[in-house]
């Protein structure tokens, strides 16, 4: 048999080479280690009750915001949509409140519910909102929070605990009252 006619795959490989065996074990153990580490993390996180559902929001400017990354800070999550009239009514107050509290480490996230992107961007432009806003793709975040409609606002404290939700449009006085109380906590 000449070299050109040699089969592409040998018909009778001996036992698998040691380095491939090693690689298979390493891959399996790495996978198990990652999943196991995550399991430990998850079981620790669920110890307290009333924890806010964890989510990731990809804002319109392309940044990813995860709730876990803001642990230790107060997070205000506002659900809105460009087609929602009461959302327009509260938009200016939300922006003003954020401007007033951002120095003190309060995070605002706007979650855009069932909307189209051009209209949503126009809404943000119109109300000059500068805090991160992003679409809720597949209404995943809305379902996690079990929202009833828009607007709704959820405030999450420094330890990731949910405060009483604000159903319907909110305003600066209402938000300030909650934020001041949480900031005063040790």
């Amino acid at each position: 048999m000449t070299g050109a006619e040699a089969p592409l795959l040998a018909a009778t490989p001996a036992g698998l080479a040691r380095r491939w065996q090693l690689l298979a074990w390493l891959l399996l153990l790495a996978l198990l280690a990652v999943v196991g580490a995550k399991l430990v993390q998850v079981s620790r996180g669920s110890a307290t009750s009333g924890a806010a559902p964890l989510f990731t929001l990809a804002s319109f400017d392309g940044t990813q915001h995860t709730l876990q990354a803001y642990r230790g800070k107060i997070v205000v999550v506002n659900f809105w949509a460009s087609w929602c009239a009461p959302c327009a009514a509260e938009a200016a107050d939300l922006e003003q409140t954020w401007q007033a509290y951002r120095e003190r480490g309060v995070v605002f996230l706007g979650v855009d519910y069932v909307d189209t992107e051009p209209e949503a961007r126009a809404f943000i432009e119109l109300w000059q909102q500068t805090y991160p806003n992003g679409p809720d793709r597949g209404t995943v975040i809305a379902q996690a929070f079990r929202i009833r409609g828009v607007p709704e606002t959820y405030i999450i404290d420094q330890r990731g605990q949910l405060q009483a939700p604000i159903i319907g449009p909110t305003n600066r006085a209402q938000l300030s009252a909650v934020l001041d109380r949480l900031l005063a906590q040790p």
Partner: protein, 696 residues
């Protein structure tokens, strides 16, 4: 006076629990019995492996009785049913929560085990102990989880201070407690699709344990032949059919209920169910090569082990809270145990596989990449590529979070970009492989067979190009789908024609007989046709979906494509099961002619404070008009907001799914020859029994 469970309820609960415990004991006994090297012990093990099915059937019947009659003093019944729910939802609430669905899972597993045990073992006697042990260990694990950690028969107990706890035994100082009503099932799950989607998915998932058990038994016994493959293939096909059906129904449910105009969101849980489907599909292809040419034995063994490992891993990820998703179950204590089971199973399987690697040598070598075998191997590699992309997408957020503290999720764009081209190559292979010859593949010969269908399929994109559609991805995708359609239909035609000539029968007569005589081959081709239809549907909705939204007052209208929608009225009324329905009426005309009225609505479930947006759909063969009511002013007349999608060709996706399942049924159905031999075997066995009894 606090209400307690009534006596019949108490008896039912205790009977169900006792039956489950006995099933556990029986499965436990079957393992050492199967390992004895003695035929009588093996027969006893077989009976002990069948018994759990009988016992668990009784236990499931008890639980169904409790769910149906509203035994709200049981923790599980209380969590998933309520008085307002109709009877069929109360019955299907069996798989509406963690504890019940795990129990249901055990019951299905015991059913599969019993079916396997009842088969004729004469030819694979040396595999029987291994198969029994694998099945029973799996059953013990899941049943153990149910009994120890997620017991659906847990009762509620109330302390004098007011705290309510759940458990089998009465804690000291508490009283039995039976609330007057339950909390009820999550409204999102109150949909016909949800009634059959989980059982199909479970039947698929659990079904893979059978081929896995045979594979492991073959490794342990050190068998070199293809006995395990012959047995496993049909079980794999059966499980694969249920899994495909489960995935399809899940897509339909998402389309009907989740209200975002899509059917597949690349949600981690969807991917967890999709990954074993990928490896099983690869297995079903490469197994053909092992049967015909004795090659790819390593591949096949690895694929079936990987399929089952992915089933267990996917179930673990979903049920332990490691992955957060719309589908996720409430967190529970089963995580660490499940993890231990996954780790043990994976390590034992890999160890055995590597130990027996040499035994699995192929009988033949691959001669050419352009041969049928070569193209099938390529097909398998592509499936593995898609699997790698999916696995990375699921694991990446976990890995990134562990190392950087930031959770970076990958969304649909990642999956679409990585798997899209691979799916395109798969379509191409689907068109080329049936044309390739076994063993020797020459480029020129393949080219001669290929150019005619390729050119014919080119007519479709060429026509669309003239019609003004210029998206390259769409044109390429449609060409590939049309290519597969041409090649597959030609295979049917050629076969029927040849048969008609041979038997001098009519064309259609020969066609039917051709399919019935070669169920595997033509069932497979039917599945390919289903995939073509689905590809058309997916290209239509992914690349040509259009959407708009508008806030309308009464009498105002919006347009999208050829449709005009006029908003006529809005009503709000309570339904009998405790939800408040807000429903809009829209008058739909197409090119100026009134075609239908649509009623998009929002249901608000007051007991669970959860809304559910239910789209109204005007469905035609070319496209769906899909309307959502997303918001409204309290007075109604002030205006309501609608989000409207036009989803082209989406019905082709569902139709393709149907063809796909029919094809799988054709391929799974035993051929007449096999039925005959099975009947002969049964007759022979009868004769043997008679002669034995005559001798006695």
């Amino acid at each position: 006076m606090i209400a307690a469970l009534s006596l019949p309820h108490l008896l039912l609960a205790d009977l169900g629990l006792s039956a489950a415990l006995l099933a556990f004991c029986s499965a436990l006994y079957a393992i050492p019995a199967a390992l004895r090297k003695d035929a009588r012990w093996l027969a006893s093990a077989r009976n002990a492996a069948i018994a759990p099915f009988v016992l668990l059937t009784l236990a499931v019947a008890c639980l169904e009785g409790l769910l149906y009659s509203g035994a709200f003093g049981l923790q599980y019944v209380n969590a998933v049913t309520s008085r307002a729910m109709p009877w069929y939802l109360r019955l299907t609430a069996l798989w509406g929560g963690q504890a019940g669905s795990l129990f249901f899972w055990c019951w299905l597993l015991s059913g599969y085990s019993a079916l396997v045990m009842l088969r004729n073992w004469r030819r694979e006697r040396d595999l029987q102990p291994g198969v029994t042990v694998v099945l029973m260990v799996t059953l013990l694990f899941f049943l153990g989880l149910v009994i120890a950690l997620e017991n659906p028969f847990n009762k509620l107990w109330v302390a004098p201070a007011g705290g309510v706890s759940a458990g089998i035994w009465q804690p000291a100082g508490t009283l039995p407690f039976a609330p007057n009503d339950g909390r009820g099932l999550n409204p999102l799950l109150r949909h016909p699709g949800m009634i059959i989607h989980p059982p199909m998915l479970y039947l698929g998932f659990i079904g893979f344990v059978v081929p896995y058990a045979f594979a492991i038994a073959a490794l342990v016994a050190g068998r070199r032949d293809d006995a395990w493959i012959r047995v496993s293939r049909r079980w794999t096909l059966l499980a694969w059919m249920f899994l495909s059906l489960g995935l399809l129904l899940g897509g339909r449910w998402a389309y009907d209920v989740l209200g975002w105009g899509g059917y597949w969101g690349w949600d981690p849980v969807e991917i967890a169910a999709f990954m074993p489907w990928l490896t099983a599909t690869a297995f079903l292809h490469s197994v053909l090569i092992q049967e015909k040419r004795g090659m790819f034995k390593h591949w096949n063994m690895s694929l079936i082990i990987l399929t089952y490992a992915l089933v267990v891993l996917g179930t673990f990820l979903t049920r332990s809270g490691v992955l957060s998703s719309v589908h996720a179950f409430a967190q529970s204590a089963i995580g660490p145990w499940f993890f231990a089971f996954v780790a043990l199973m994976a390590c034992v399987s890999l160890g055995l596989l590597l130990k027996r690697w040499e035994l699995l040598r192929g009988d033949n070598a691959l001669d050419s990449w352009l041969s049928r075998e070569g193209l099938f191997l390529l097909n398998n590699l592509i499936f593995m590529g898609i699997l790698a992309a999916c696995l990375w997408g699921v694991m990446y957020p976990i890995i990134s979070e562990l190392f950087t503290g930031q959770k970076v999720t990958v969304g649909p764009p990642y999956y679409e970009r990585t798997t899209g081209p691979l799916f395109a190559v798969l379509l191409l292979l689907m068109g080329v492989a049936p044309l390739a010859a076994w063993r020797a593949g020459a480029a020129r010969r393949l080219g001669r067979a290929f150019w005619k269908p390729a050119l014919l399929a080119g007519l479709l994109p060429a026509g669309l190009l003239l019609a003004g559609i210029t998206q390259p991805a769409a044109l390429l995708g449609l060409w590939l789908a049309a290519l597969v359609a041409c090649v597959t239909l030609y295979e049917f035609y050629r076969g029927a024609q040849a048969r008609a000539r041979l038997t001098a029968g009519g064309f259609w007569h020969s066609f039917v007989h051709l399919v019935l005589r070669n169920r595997r081959r033509y069932g497979g081709f039917t599945i390919h046709l289903g995939v073509v239809l689905m590809a058309f549907g997916i290209i239509g909705i992914e690349l040509f979906q259009s959407e708009t939204q508008a806030t309308l007052a009464y009498g105002e209208q919006l347009s999208i494509g050829q449709y005009q929608l006029r908003y006529d009225s809005l009503v709000e009324f309570p339904a009998s099961d405790g939800r408040v329905i807000t429903r809009a009426t829209l008058n739909v005309s197409k090119n100026g002619r009134v075609v239908t009225q649509l009623f998009p609505r929002r249901d608000y479930f007051t007991d669970s404070q959860q809304p559910m947006t239910i789209p109204a759909v005007y469905s035609t063969l070319p496209e769906d008009l899909y309307v959502l009511l997303v918001g409204w002013e309290p007075a109604g007349a002030g205006g309501a907001t609608f989000k409207v999608y036009v989803n082209p060709l989406v019905n082709w996706l569902w139709a393709g799914g149907l063809v796909f399942i029919i094809g799988t049924l054709v391929a799974t159905w035993p051929e007449r020859r096999e039925l005959q031999t099975a009947a002969e075997r049964a007759r022979a066995a009868q004769l043997a029994v008679r002669s034995v009894s005559a001798g006695a």
